[in-house]
């Protein structure tokens, strides 16, 4: 699951021509550290939902990588 989420995050970054991330840790902030804006977050939810069948923003905003894994549990 971790690798898949990492890959999805990089797909979203690549689609915007942004710098990819080498490794993923739970404390990384989606906007500040990874560099996502609202459009990227919207895309991230769609791609994660397609893969895991969970809308990670359904129950409210999340801001870190760790919270993604919380929602996917």
């Amino acid at each position: 699951m971790r690798d898949t989420v990492h890959q999805i995050i990089n797909t979203v970054l690549a689609n915007r021509g942004k710098k990819l991330i080498d490794s993923l840790n739970d404390s990384m902030r989606l906007r500040d550290d990874i560099g996502f804006d609202s459009l990227d977050l919207a895309e991230l939810t769609v791609r994660i939902e397609a893969q895991f069948n969970v809308d990670i923003f359904e129950k409210g905003i999340i801001s870190t990588v760790g919270e993604i894994f919380e929602r996917l549990k």
Binding site: A14, N15, R16, G17, S38, L39, L41, A42, E43, T45, V46, R47, D55, F57, E58
Partner: protein
């Protein structure tokens, strides 16, 4: 030609004499018609006109639940009745009944095919539904390629135009492009009326089709590039663009994308949205003087009043407060080399309300990020589809329009 109707899918081939024989043999009919065979829908319509009784048309693919919802909600009951009608001798006599009677009791009930919400019931008297039917000797030999759902407004109007002039009807709806080209050749079809999405399939023809003299497009936004492509294939065709509403029938026609409005007192434009006066409408649950069409128009000139349709208001995708016109995005994606077809639509999203999604048919040379990166030169970032799906073909809806639905 003595042919009334040909349908290769149902293997139906009926001459006018066959039709008249069957009409004479029919002694019971119903006030509600729901039939997957277009020929039977046409017979229902003709019988209702002969006996001057109201008729309700339902899409044949409505589920039982949808039917009970639609009819129950409107207190409409199906009943069968014995037909009290004269024996019809020939085509001439049938056409005189259709064209000369005033059809005072006849009324057509249709349900609008809106993509959201419950379909709305609309009733039309004979006068509004035949507003643009032209009867004359020059139409005697017209051969129609039928390309609409027969239970929808556009289909009924094409049928009545063909019926009133005693023409032949060749059913093309739900056929593949190759089948359509063969039917055009075999029957020397002269008239086509279809949505731009339907006509778009025909641009793949490798041959010219000189028999087609007239092409009418409607139901979706007019596309000048499509007309240009079609004119290379249908070399003898005149092109006409039609603006119609299920609520009103055909309203305006144009040669290109500019509609000159004659009855200026019957339209008004407020905040770029077109409103139609109630005197042009059929009967439905509506009591205001002006009906909001939901169509966004641009006034090109005030004298004479000339308008251009920009988009459907409800088609506008709201992405976190930013408005996206799907036509604009489709146009940008189509301009990318390797893309053959595209449809853009909204997908609901927990972050932004909606996001823009595109289904793309391509030649295999493109990746999703190729398209996304190229679009950054054409479109503002919020208009660029967040998800691009590569598909084999773009599915047409049951109205013949490209599906643009909330998924």
């Amino acid at each position: 030609m003595n042919l009334f109707y040909h349908d290769h899918q149902t293997n139906t081939h009926a001459s006018w004499d066959d039709l008249i024989y069957e009409l004479n043999q029919t002694s019971i009919s119903s006030n509600i018609c729901k039939d997957s065979n277009t020929y039977n829908v046409f017979k229902c319509l003709i019988l209702s006109l002969i006996v001057d009784m109201p008729i309700t048309l339902l899409d044949s693919d409505f589920t039982e639940n949808e039917v009970s919802e639609l009819l129950g909600r409107t207190n409409n009951e199906k009943h069968e009745f014995l037909l009290n009608k004269p024996l019809i001798k020939n085509k001439k006599e049938l056409l005189s009944i259709i064209n000369q009677n005033d059809h005072k009791e006849w009324e057509l009930t249709l349900f609008t095919s809106g993509t959201t919400g419950i379909p709305k019931k609309v009733k039309h008297p004979f006068s509004t539904i035949t507003r643009n039917v032209k009867i004359s000797d020059k139409h005697n030999d017209d051969i129609w390629g039928f390309a609409y759902n027969p239970t929808h407004m556009a289909g009924v109007q094409v049928f009545l135009q063909a019926l009133a002039n005693g023409n032949s009807i060749i059913n093309l709806f739900n056929s593949t492009p190759l089948q359509i080209f063969k039917l055009i050749e075999d029957f020397q079809i002269t008239h086509l009326s279809a949505t731009p999405s339907f006509l778009n399939q025909l641009t793949t023809s490798e041959k010219k089709h000189p028999s087609v003299k007239s092409i009418t497009s409607g139901g979706e936004r007019f596309n000048p590039a499509l007309m240009q492509n079609l004119s290379n294939i249908f070399v003898n065709a005149r092109f006409k663009n039609i603006y119609a509403l299920t609520e009103a029938g055909s309203l305006f026609t144009a040669n290109g994308d500019l509609f000159v409005i004659d009855e200026t007192d019957k339209v008004k434009i407020v905040n770029s949205i077109l409103y139609i006066h109630q005197s042009l409408l059929g009967n439905f649950d509506f009591t205001d003087e002006w009906y909001e069409t939901g169509d966004i128009v641009e006034v090109v000139s005030n004298n004479p009043l000339t308008i251009k349709f920009i988009s459907r208001e409800k088609e506008i995708i709201n992405v976190g407060g930013y408005k996206v016109n799907p036509h604009e995005v489709e146009h940008a994606i189509k301009s990318i080399k390797g893309v053959t077809e595209v449809v853009v639509y909204a997908k609901s999203n927990s972050v932004l309300g909606n996001i823009v999604v595109a289904d793309v048919v391509q030649d295999g040379s493109l990746t999703e990020s190729d398209i996304r990166l190229q679009l950054t030169s054409y479109l503002q970032e919020f208009k660029i589809p967040r998800v691009i799906r590569f598909v084999e073909n773009i599915e047409l809806s049951r109205t013949g329009k490209t599906k643009r639905i909330q998924k």
